[in-house]
């Protein structure tokens, strides 16, 4: 087990290196520092001097990978790759193009993201699983048929519709909660109610159908027949046997996204003006601030690798058949 975890950590290094190199190529080779400077300064009427100045200010005036003018180890260290990308490995995100400390920004903005994403996930899970279990219990009946149709309808409507519709009816017409915005501390609840509700609701269609398939697959298995042959009622068999086995894929599916909850949701956060990491990324893309985008891409891949590792570990905890080696 320990060996396995160590090996997985070692595997993560080449993976993250690859992500880093790939983002570097995308951001500095495809889109050269000259282009970046022009975009920042405005496409028209940009003098050569202004571009050079901008590059000097933001540290883009050195070569990409190899500095042949510099001395000894500076040949490597005085390059854009070393200065901008290697620091990411040590979680030194540096300074954004607009001059803010990215690391501090991330630390500050991940909490609103989490405050929105965690309740959405938890409430969503409870709601989806309860509905799915009910549909499995009433399988073969008209109630189930109706449920499936409802799920398909819910799935077919874009989540943007739920957001705009929710803001219009609940916030604007009924004035139950504010349309958008955020406040630190307990006051945040008032602002989070609507986005959480909409997040849960827009996930019901696909979620219920997905869990229903998982449960149906287990219900057909032989051990459920054994359970009923023991004298358990259908409901008892469902809760004591089916749920436990079906929770294995459910749980591991949830664990893998847990770390990514810090990253927030791009759409929800920008629609509801919640100052989380999702809206942070969107704003950075809009203002062409590549230092932030690069930091977020790297952070995302690190969290995903951690998520996968946690999934493997959680498998061993919930499924006695799995042993890591």
């Amino acid at each position: 087990m320990i060996n396995y975890i160590i090996r997985r950590f070692l595997y993560a290094f080449p993976l993250l290196m690859g992500v880093n190199v790939l983002t570097f190529v995308l951001f500095f080779v495809v889109n050269s520092p000259n282009d970046m400077a022009r975009m920042q300064l405005g496409q028209k009427h940009v003098t050569e001097q202004a571009v050079t100045n901008w590059k000097q200010q933001h540290g883009y005036d050195v070569p990409l990978l190899w500095n042949s003018d510099a001395q000894r180890q500076e040949k490597i260290t005085r390059t854009i790759f070393y200065q901008k990308s290697v620091g990411l490995f040590l979680f030194r995100f540096g300074v954004s193009d607009s001059g803010r400390n990215i690391g501090a920004d991330i630390q500050e903005r991940m909490w609103p993201s989490l405050a929105l994403a965690l309740p959405t996930l938890c409430i969503g899970l409870v709601v989806n699983i309860s509905f799915a279990l009910m549909m499995v219990l009433f399988r073969g009946s008209y109630l189930e048929q109706a449920g499936i149709v409802l799920c398909v309808i819910l799935m077919s409507i874009s989540s943007l519709f739920y957001i705009i519709g929710g803001q219009f009816f609940i916030a604007k017409l009924l004035r139950l909660v504010p349309i958008s915005g955020y406040e630190d501390g307990v006051g945040a609840i008032r602002f989070l109610l609507l986005p959480v509700l909409i997040g849960v609701f827009s996930g019901i269609g696909s979620g219920v159908r997905w869990y229903r398939t998982l449960f149906l697959e287990e219900v057909e298995k032989d051990y459920v027949r054994t359970a009923r042959a023991k004298g358990l009622t259908e409901t008892q068999a469902l809760f004591r046997h089916v749920l436990r086995n079906a929770m294995i894929p459910v749980l591991t599916g949830v664990v893998v996204i847990l770390p990514l909850l810090f990253m927030g949701s791009l759409i929800m956060e920008s629609f509801f003006s919640i100052p989380g990491l999702g809206s942070y990324t969107i704003d950075a893309i809009n203002s062409q601030d590549f230092a932030i985008v690069r930091a977020m891409v790297f952070l995302g891949s690190v969290l995903y690798v951690i998520g996968l590792l946690l999934t493997d570990i959680s498998y061993t905890l919930v499924d006695p058949r799995v042993r890591l080696s």
């Binding site: 060996n3 160590i6 090996r7 399988r139 073969g140 298995k221 032989d222 051990y223 027949r225 054994t226 359970a227 009923r228 042959a229 023991k230 004298g231 358990l232 009622t233 259908e234 004591r240 046997h241 436990r244 086995n245 294995i248 919930v318 499924d319 006695p320 058949r321 080696s325």
Partner: protein, 544 residues
């Protein structure tokens, strides 16, 4: 037993009586068709029939455990005087597991994989009896002892995957016994187990039956097994019971033609006596063959040890002869068959086919040699590509190994091959799923024959098939052997089949061949202890 039985029958109070039971699926397909039978207290009643005849459905419908799309119709299903058909679902829950216990065919899938065996047995006790916690635990241990699981205190916390197949079935039996039922339904209890384990489980069932005096309803396709276990037998064919009677009567004087057919199809160990040996040059020589699988461990997955799947095996197969390779599952017989074809990379040793050493060949030359040696796999359902037409499946080998043959000639030879295996010629334009198991195995044989091989490796080709179909396939293989002078390496665990088809037998045990000789020698005068054990475990038709 039989004296006891006569007394009970004289009293004539059946434990379970089923009157006019019919089961239909989806309102049209009648699987069980108006059957009636009785089971007396303390007796062993066997329901025999081929797969698909509706035996398991009958058992499940008594306890109303069928899927939702099944419709049960019956005049009465009476447990003593209680008509179960009139009982509500919640009342039936008090009968399942308490009055009637059930054990199923596959103990692995029938046990909950994420619960310990202790808690699975406990569950029955908690549902049906209100016992204090301590007593429950004691009772679980007692049950595990009763089903002869060694060291029950330690095993109680084990999960099903940590037990062997036989032990899992013992746990299933313990679960069924926990409610102290009056009737135990055993649905193919030993079909997925090895023959030696089968004997142990059957012996255990007998002992428990004698201890508790419960009735045993055995459901099986294995006539030999039934003849040793049952007091009374009912033979089922396509949803109908065609014959019922005392075991002795049924097996000695079968009345119904279907029963006669089943009995005749049964491979028996007597049939080896009629083979007459002839001398021919060896076609395949295998010398000192090894196949080790590496075991990898540690941080960098170094190879620390090997699983010796095949451990120094040597044998010859004569032209036109059949060598049967016998052994329990896991003894390495399938690995040997596959690695002879170089389908598994880890083999080493000398394999000489027709004077050519196969092990030294690589690439194109090896591919060409594949024309001489073909394989028929165990499961005809998974060994064909479901999205290819049967004609294409058969012609694929021809196309790969004889590219000069053009499309029209290929079509002709596919038609010939289909004729040889007794399938209609228009089968070529159909898909594998449209055929039954036996027909599919014929297609697999045609596919192997297509490239004119000299040797066919048959890896348990009949173990997934019903008895009467099995007999047809064996007959087909024999006919083809006579017509074409084929040699077979016949891998099997069924000694009856061995006697039918083989000239020589090699008994394999833990990767080594422990005994080798003619069929007559090995089956009538076994020398190695393992062979003796294997032979003793085979159920034999109890006919006077």
């Amino acid at each position: 037993m039989s004296i006891f039985l006569c007394q009970i029958q004289a009293m004539n109070i059946p434990l379970l009586s089923v009157e006019n039971l019919s089961v239909t699926f989806n309102h049209q397909q009648t699987v069980v068709d108006d059957i009636s039978f009785v089971i007396y207290p303390g007796e062993t009643f066997a329901l025999v029939g081929e797969s698909g005849s509706g035996k398991s459905i009958t058992a499940l419908s008594v306890l109303r455990l069928l899927p939702n799309n099944a419709k049960i119709k019956a005049h009465a299903i009476s447990l003593q005087d209680d008509n179960l058909i009139k009982r509500a679902e919640f009342e039936l829950c008090k009968i399942r597991g308490r009055r009637i216990g059930l054990i199923f065919q596959d103990p692995m899938s029938s046990l909950n994989p994420v619960m310990t065996i202790g808690s699975q047995i406990e569950e029955v006790l908690n549902i049906h009896f209100s016992l204090p916690k301590k007593t429950v635990k004691q009772r679980v241990l007692q049950l595990l002892q009763q089903v002869e699981i060694p060291e029950p205190e330690q095993r109680i916390k084990d999960y099903p995957h940590q037990l062997s197949g036989g032990q899992r079935q013992r746990v299933m039996i313990a679960i069924a016994l926990a409610g102290q039922p009056d009737l135990l339904i055993a649905d193919e209890p030993t079909t997925s187990l090895d023959v030696t384990i089968q004997a142990q489980i059957l012996a255990l069932l007998k002992i428990i039956q004698q201890q508790t005096g419960m009735a045993l309803w055995l459901i099986s396709h294995d006539l030999a097994l039934v003849s040793t276990m049952a007091d009374r037998v009912a033979v089922m064919q396509q949803g109908k019971i065609v014959e019922t009677g005392l075991t002795k009567t049924i097996f000695n004087q079968p009345q119904h033609p279907y029963t006669c057919k089943l009995l005749k199809a049964l491979p028996s160990m007597q049939s080896c006596l009629k083979h007459i040996p002839k001398e021919k040059p060896p076609l395949l020589q295998v010398n000192d063959f090894y196949c080790y699988y590496p075991i990898r461990k540690g941080l960098f997955k170094r190879v620390v040890d090997h699983v010796r799947a095949v451990d120094g095996v040597s044998f010859n197969i004569q032209q036109g002869k059949t060598l049967a390779l016998v052994g329990e599952s896991g003894c390495g017989k399938t690995t040997l068959g596959k690695s002879l074809l170089n389908l598994i990379p880890d083999g080493s040793g000398e394999v000489i086919l027709n004077g050519i050493n196969l092990n030294k060949l690589t690439g194109e030359t090896l591919r060409q040699q594949r024309a001489n040696i073909q394989i028929v796999f165990q499961d005809p359902f998974s060994s064909m590509n479901p999205r290819m037409l049967v004609g294409d499946i058969i012609a694929e080998g021809l196309r790969a190994l004889h590219p000069k043959i053009n499309a029209t000639e290929r079509k002709v030879s596919v038609a010939q091959l289909l004729q040889q295996v007794d399938l209609p010629i228009d089968s070529a334009l159909r898909y594998p799923h449209e055929f039954s198991g036996g027909q599919r195995q014929r297609i697999c044989i045609a596919r192997a024959l297509a490239v004119n091989p000299k040797l066919i490796i048959c890896d348990e080709p009949t173990s997934a098939l019903d008895v009467s179909v099995q007999a047809q396939i064996i007959q087909l293989l024999k006919t083809l052997q006579q017509e074409k002078g084929l040699s077979y390496l016949f891998i099997t665990h069924d000694l009856g089949v061995v006697a039918e088809i083989a000239d020589e037998v090699a008994v394999m045990y833990q990767g080594k061949i422990v005994e080798h000789g003619t069929v007559k020698q090995v089956l009538t005068q076994p020398e190695h202890a393992y062979t003796k054990k294997l032979l003793a475990a085979v159920p034999v038709l109890a006919i006077d």
